[in-house]
């Protein structure tokens, strides 16, 4: 079961990497978050930890519903071109993503000398998600893509935390969720401002400050 969930996480990440337009990207993020929710629920039932149920709930409320909703709202409100603005086209992005997957695998095999293949692959997938998030941030011009990239990275970390150390301490986890939510709100606020001042949200064109 875990394997299937992990595979869907991976698949949703690939989906995001090849997304060309914002709704697709947000949808990908939603899938991914949902998968993580399922994963956490599964783990919670397995370990019988009440903490994990709460965390899973938060995950569902924040990352599956609220944040994507907010993002959709922003897209609607600012009425800009929905293109992400790709530095690297989807095909090549996919290629990169595969390379990153491989690299993550190597990295996690080096990091953990463990015979448990599932642990290693979970680790690899977590690292891959972090990398994919960073990749999204670097290779997409839109400010929203950067927010989503950041969220993807965060998802990766969540996965990592729950695989390697069985999750962070409870209140830290809560604080992190809160933090992520606040940061999305604040970033959204800045996206509005950027749109207002520049009439676009293409951060690649934000280059007044040099040197």
């Amino acid at each position: 079961m875990q394997g299937i969930i992990l595979f869907t996480v991976l698949a949703s990440t690939y989906l995001m990497v090849i997304a060309k337009r914002m709704p697709a990207l947000i949808r990908g993020f939603r899938y991914q978050s949902f998968c993580l929710f399922a994963f956490t629920l599964f783990a919670a039932s397995g370990h019988d930890q009440p903490d994990l149920y709460i965390i899973a709930g938060l995950l569902f409320v924040l990352k599956v519903s609220l944040i994507p909703y907010l993002l959709y709202r922003i897209i609607k409100r600012i009425k800009v071109n929905e293109d992400l603005g790709l530095f690297i086209n989807p095909q090549l992005s996919l290629l990169w993503a595969l390379v990153f997957t491989y690299l993550s695998w190597i990295f996690s095999t080096h990091l953990i000398i463990s015979n448990k293949i599932t642990l290693t692959s979970m680790l690899a997938i977590a690292f891959f998600i972090v990398l994919a998030g960073l990749f999204l941030m670097i290779s997409r011009m839109s400010a929203l893509a950067q927010i989503i990239g950041l969220l993807v990275m965060e998802n990766g970390l969540f996965l990592l935390a729950s695989t390697v150390s069985g999750g962070m301490p409870f209140f830290v986890e809560i604080a992190i969720f809160f933090d992520v939510f606040v940061s999305v709100v604040i970033m959204g606020f800045f996206v509005y401002r950027i749109n207002k001042l520049f009439t676009h949200i293409d951060v690649n064109k934000l280059s007044r400050l040099k040197g």
Binding site: V164, I176, I186, R208
Partner: protein, 485 residues
């Protein structure tokens, strides 16, 4: 317990901004509040020196020398900034740059910002440490984008994105730390006070990787090159008093975080690994900042790059590891905080009078604003390490340790870059401070609170340089304690 004052007063002040309508009055109340915080910070520091570490609030807060020291530094700068803000915000309101209401927002954000920074050294849990640092980013992003101009919003965006990415890596590192902790068969905890005693039994390879993530992550926030890119943008666009806070203490809180993890690393595998990384980043920061300082045109960006330089020096100091170097680096944290705050205040005054950031267009500051001009002049020499000012002492301590360690190449590089930076500073500031006023320049008075803030900081800059030989014992003792964890 002073720590409750320190954390409580900013919160109270933040809440009270909703009820205060007059920014003038509030500015003064704010300042008095931070004076109280300053006293609390000093007495906390003193208390910790005599009693050693302390836990508070169900072990949620943990205070030892290091955290008390950083809290002290933050409280000093926060007080100076509160003092300076009175005049600065009043002038901004008077000139119609911001509205009365926005001034209230400023004070709200300022207090939240200070609260989050005070949290950083106070918390025990490494995860909470991360949360606190991320909070500082989120709050200060508003202060960076405060003026809502194209540049400031751009700077705020870059700031928030780059720092968030960096800090996510720091979280990754933290998770790996906790992983190392969990595979060693101990109960799940991220409390620093739990991890340190068992640091030596943790898996070294994982710690190594984890520390790289920590260093890159918090290093981004600390402004270590080449992750420093957000720093000049944010510092140059923030409200002047906030620039002082950003440069003076925000960066240091990130350094604090690095140190916390560094101490675990040192305990676990000795000094070399930590030292090499810190020195590497220190030198890169120095090299890059020296180049940028040399060809810089924007006054506040210049100061921002100088912060990168000093963070580099601090990181070299910690990297060298001898008690003298550690003491020097700690002192440097304080010295740089006060000196750089002074410089940013000066820059704030200059920019608000000349309405320009471009140093080529600013001439004759000493004539236009004698007090600020002279303070900036002296501050410039203080910043570049001239005696009798305090930075000289800390730099010399670090250099001495470098030579005593036998790392001649590093020391030579350090001296070289310091000289280049000094030259660049004199080159830029000499022209800016002296010379004849531009035509049509109206000379206006300087606000009293600004002058007081200058005097407060300047007395610390000078006083420390002179008083240092007499506090030597405590200082080295602290450094020694620090190394032992």
């Amino acid at each position: 317990m002073e720590i409750f004052f320190i954390l409580g007063i900013p919160v109270l002040l933040a809440i009270s901004t909703f009820f205060m309508r007059k920014q003038r009055v509030f500015g003064i109340i704010n300042c008095i509040g931070y004076l109280a915080v300053l006293f609390a910070g000093v007495s906390l520091f003193k208390g910790i020196i005599s009693t050693g570490s302390a836990k508070a609030f169900l072990g949620f807060l943990y205070l030892d020398f290091l955290s008390a020291f950083f809290i002290f530094v933050i409280s000093v700068v926060a007080f100076a900034v509160a003092l300076y803000s009175i005049g600065y915000i009043r002038r901004d309101v008077g000139q119609g740059v911001i509205s009365e209401k926005k001034a209230g927002v400023y004070y709200l954000l300022f207090n939240l910002f200070c609260f989050s920074m005070f949290m950083v050294p106070a918390v025990n849990n490494l995860g909470m440490l991360w949360v606190a640092i991320e909070m500082t980013t989120l709050i200060s992003a508003f202060l960076v984008g405060f003026y809502n101009s194209k540049e400031s919003v751009e700077a705020a965006w870059k700031y928030i994105i780059i720092c968030s990415v960096g800090i996510i890596f720091a979280l990754l590192g933290t998770i790996l730390f906790s992983y190392a902790f969990s595979i060693s068969g101990l109960s799940k905890s991220l409390n620093w006070s739990d991890i340190v005693p068992v640091a030596h039994i943790l898996d070294k390879d994982i710690l190594k990787v984890a520390f790289i993530f920590i260093l890159v992550g918090y290093g981004t926030k600390a402004g270590l090159a080449p992750m420093h890119t957000w720093l000049p943008d944010a510092h140059s666009q923030a409200v002047a008093p906030i620039s002082a806070l950003l440069s003076g203490v925000l960066l240091k809180t990130a350094v604090y975080a690095i140190l916390r993890f560094g101490m675990i690393i040192i305990k676990s595998m000795g000094f070399a690994y930590f030292a090499h990384l810190m020195i590497l980043f220190g030198i890169i920061s120095l090299a890059i900042s020296s180049g940028f300082i040399l060809v810089q045109k924007d006054l506040k960006r210049l100061l921002a790059y100088s912060s990168i330089e000093h963070i580099g020096i601090i990181s070299i100091g910690f990297g060298l590891g001898a008690p003298l170097a550690i003491a020097g680096a700690l002192l440097h944290v304080f010295n740089h905080a006060v000196t750089k705050s002074l410089m940013f205040f000066g820059a704030g005054n200059i920019v608000s009078v000349y309405k320009k950031h471009n140093m080529n267009a600013i001439r004759g500051v000493v004539k236009a604003m004698p007090f600020t001009g002279i303070m900036v002049l002296l501050g410039m020499f203080a910043l570049t390490g001239f005696p009798p000012f305090s930075i000289f002492i800390s730099e010399i301590m670090i250099l001495t340790a470098a030579f005593t360690n036998g790392s001649y190449v590093m020391a030579a590089l350090l001296l070289f870059f310091l000289s280049v930076i000094f030259g660049a500073f004199v080159y830029h500031f000499g022209k800016m401070l002296f010379g004849n006023l531009p035509k049509g320049m109206v000379v206006s008075g300087e606000p009293l609170s600004g002058k007081l803030a200058f005097l407060f900081l300047f007395s610390l800059i000078c006083g420390l340089g002179i008083a240092l030989p007499f506090i030597k014992k405590d200082l080295l003792w602290i450094a020694q304690r620090l190394l032992q964890g």
